[in-house]
């Protein structure tokens, strides 16, 4: 066993209102430079939908992530020699048309237009060419289904789990249902972006597991973009370097939550540290599809187990990090309550961002009075759910419906129980029965309820001390940087000739 710590996240999808505040917080902070306009390190997509970049989930097209062949993990992108052969032209690279061409407007035309018969309009201009352009796509073009079922209908997950007739029924107006899926880099345990980089420029930080691109080592071979199945590495066309979500590490190192999480309006985001066994990464990622989620839960270690604590300290994990792991909201959602699931575990990168799948609007039904009612048979609504559980399973459990139902039963039982307790229109015995069926205790429900609905900032973001300043102090003379423009990157990030 080799104990390491990983900063991980949980997004509670029932709470996401699709406001994109997170995306804007991130954009304003990190990606408003030339070359990064089209990048959304944090994006929010409507599901079902084709996502951003379009159809990124279709790995037959993009060849991202890992596959198991003869019991061995290998990149779906191809062998190492194949990658080198394809280096001057990468056949699996999405282009700007798969994302969208970023634009702004000729605002001047509004101010400077002379008198005339018509209102002046600000024409859209491309942020790349500066020419007028026709806007044909955006990073959230299919927001709220975009008034058209086209995007939803082409969702690769939906195509996988429903035939044409079922899809037709699904798109009947009363049936129509969607939810939001906010995505950032998953800071995976088995990142395929790292493995795909020919220069070895992408690395995982040992202490906190944040995955970063060394801007100095990156040579612009752009294999990582194809390698990441989540398409969370982007290519800066201006500087010729790959860039990705940095989990706001400068904020984390100073004890602040990442900007997307700090600004989240729905308070859907949780951040905490997990201890895991680094010796079992490859073994875990090689499991058959059906065992992947459980194996990923297994690799996460119990921070209360004295044996594990001893080993963690011996392996160089700081006591303070262990303390933080014990208070981690992520540990609770993922391991203790088993409510949060990884997105597309079948891509085998062992993503460290977990999602509590949305119960509503999946199971909500409206009665004639327009009132939301719980089915008296507790869980029967799962079979008649508006969004088939199959769909959720293809997103979060590599197709295992039972695992999704287990989570849904817990979420529903919690609701039934709290409703019995606070509204009182459900008898308490029936609520207890539901809890029993979902294998939850009252105490657990109260804890889940608290962390889901009432938690304060410090409970949602348990940031371990990163001790970077200590490490720097020991390794580098702090005076070394006094003459320069501060520690770190002191050159202008300008494109080479």
């Amino acid at each position: 066993m080799n104990v390491r710590s990983q900063v991980s996240m949980v997004f509670h999808l029932d709470k996401c209102i699709g406001c994109h505040t997170c995306s804007l917080a991130c954009k304003n902070l990190w990606t408003d430079r030339p070359g990064t306009e089209y990048m959304w390190w944090n994006n929010v997509e409507t599901k079902p939908g084709t996502g951003y970049p379009t159809l990124y989930e279709d790995q037959e097209q993009y060849h991202g992530g890992w596959v198991v062949e003869d019991g061995k993990l290998r990149l779906k992108l191809g062998s190492r020699p194949t990658e080198l052969v394809n280096i001057s032209f990468n056949p699996r690279l999405p282009t700007l048309d798969d994302y969208y061409e970023p634009w702004t407007y000729h605002y001047k035309e509004l101010i400077e237009a002379g008198p005339g018969d018509d209102q002046p309009v600000a024409k859209p201009i491309s942020m790349i060419t500066g020419e007028e352009m026709e806007i044909e796509a955006g990073p959230n073009w299919d927001d709220d289904l975009s008034g058209s079922p086209i995007y939803a209908e082409n969702d690769p997950n939906l195509r996988k789990v429903m035939n044409e007739e079922e899809r037709r029924q699904f798109f009947e107006l009363q049936q129509l249902v969607y939810f939001y899926l906010p995505r950032i880099c998953n800071h995976c345990l088995n990142p395929s972006c790292v493995a795909a980089c020919p220069s070895g420029a992408i690395y995982k930080r040992g202490e906190d597991g944040i995955v970063l691109v060394s801007q100095e080592k990156c040579q612009g071979w752009r294999m990582c973009v194809s390698g990441c199945p989540y398409k969370k590495v982007y290519f800066n066309w201006n500087t010729g370097k790959a860039e990705k979500c940095i989990l706001c590490y400068p904020r984390l190192e100073t004890g602040q939550a990442p900007a997307c999480m700090h600004s989240c309006v729905g308070k859907i985001r949780y951040l905490g540290v997990l201890l895991y066994d680094a010796d079992r990464i490859e073994e875990t990622a090689s499991k058959p599809d059906a065992e992947l989620v459980d194996a990923q839960r297994e690799i996460i270690l119990d921070p209360f187990d004295p044996k594990i604590i001893r080993k963690a300290l011996a392996d160089g994990v700081d006591q303070k990090v262990v303390d933080a792991a014990q208070r981690s909201p992520v540990y609770k959602y993922v391991k203790a309550w088993r409510l949060a699931l990884p997105l597309h575990p079948e891509w085998r990168t062992l993503p460290m961002l977990f999602y509590v799948p949305p119960l509503l609007p999946v199971t909500a039904t409206l009665t004639a009075q327009g009132r939301h009612e719980l089915d008296p048979n507790f869980f029967s609504s799962l079979e008649s759910a508006r969004m088939p559980v199959r769909y959720m399973a293809s997103l979060f459990t590599a197709g295992d419906e039972r695992m999704v139902i287990t989570v849904y039963k817990k979420l529903l039982a919690g609701r039934i129980f709290k409703r019995a307790q606070t509204v009182g229109d459900i008898p308490m015995e029936r609520a207890s029965q539901a809890l029993e069926e979902a294998q939850l205790t009252e105490r657990e429900v109260e804890e889940i309820y608290h962390l889901t609905a009432l938690a304060a900032f410090e409970e949602m973001f348990v940031i371990p001390p990163m001790l970077r300043e200590v490490a720097i102090q020991m390794g580098v003379d702090p005076h070394e940087f006094q003459e320069e423009r501060g520690a770190g990157f002191v050159q202008l990030p300008a494109r080479g000739l």
């Binding site: 190492r80 020699p81 990658e83 080198l84 280096i87 001057s88 032209f89 990468n90 690279l93 999405p94 282009t95 700007l96 061409e101 790349i128 060419t129 088995n190 990142p191 790292v194 980089c197 020919p198 220069s199 070895g200 690395y203 995982k204 930080r205 040992g206 202490e207 801007q215 100095e216 080592k217 040579q219 612009g220 071979w221 752009r222 973009v225 290519f235 066309w237 201006n238 500087t239 010729g240 370097k241 990464i281 160089g316 700081d318 303070k320 001390p465 001790l467 970077r468 300043e469 200590v470 490490a471 720097i472 102090q473 390794g475 050159q491 990030p493 300008a494 494109r495 080479g496 000739l497």
Partner: protein
């Protein structure tokens, strides 16, 4: 004039290429990149980049091989059939590269294209130099027959004399103008190397074939973080 072109200029080009190349790698590593524009435009790049790179890399390797091992190269080219086959292969590769290069140039021309806006002056200069260089190379191959053979007797001794710091330019000064142009342009391109995206060439990531898939970087491995030192910081 010949003295400058075939003695001074090659030395200047080589010294700058190595010196500036190393300086740039050490002190300005951020500027090293292939500066890929594939994200902006994909289709033309396929028809341009693939022929260009396969063509030019093989031709360049042939030049290098013959310069480093003239004896071996002479033996290989000794047979009539082998000579013919190799010359024809070379010409085919040059046409292949030229085709790719022209596509690459056309790709960057239209003023409303995305790649045009990601094109620096140096990109333009580089593509222009390559165009002339490949064209003269092809011209020599077609009109100044059996270049692969006389290359061994003219240019290669000159290279080695430069390496030995004992420049002997007699073997090259009497060559036709087009050949001399090709030689001088070759060193001009070496001169451009550290000042352009050509630096990507020496960064070819061969080590990818054996490096472990995962890369983990530790900040404080090996240096023990003591309780006191962490206390100070909190």
């Amino acid at each position: 004039m010949d003295g400058f072109l075939f003695i001074a200029f090659p030395y200047i080009a080589l010294i700058l290429a190595i010196g500036v190349g190393i300086y740039r790698r050490r002190r300005r590593p951020y500027t090293y990149s292939s500066l890929s524009s594939q994200i902006l435009e994909n289709r033309k790049l396929f028809w341009g980049s693939v022929p260009w790179h396969y063509g030019i890399t093989l031709i360049l390797l042939a030049h290098l091989f013959a310069a480093l091992f003239p004896g071996l190269a002479g033996w290989v080219l000794g047979g009539r059939i082998r000579l013919l086959v190799l010359e024809l292969t070379g010409i085919a590769l040059a046409f292949y590269a030229l085709f790719g290069l022209i596509v690459l140039i056309i790709r960057r021309l239209p003023s409303n294209s995305r790649v045009r806006h990601a094109t620096s002056y140096m990109d333009g200069i580089l593509l222009g130099f390559f165009l002339i260089q490949v064209a003269t190379g092809l011209g020599i191959a077609i009109f100044e027959r059996w270049g692969s053979l006389w290359y061994l007797r003219t240019a290669v001794p000159w290279f080695w004399s430069l390496v030995k710091l004992h420049p002997e330019i007699a073997t090259v000064t009497s060559l036709p103008g087009i050949v001399k142009l090709h030689f001088v342009l070759g060193f001009a391109i070496i001169l451009l190397f550290p000042f352009s995206r050509l630096v990507h060439l020496v960064m070819f990531p061969l080590q990818y074939l054996w490096r472990p898939y995962q890369v983990v970087v530790w900040n404080r491995r090996g240096r023990k973080v003591t309780a006191e030192s962490t206390e100070v910081m909190r």
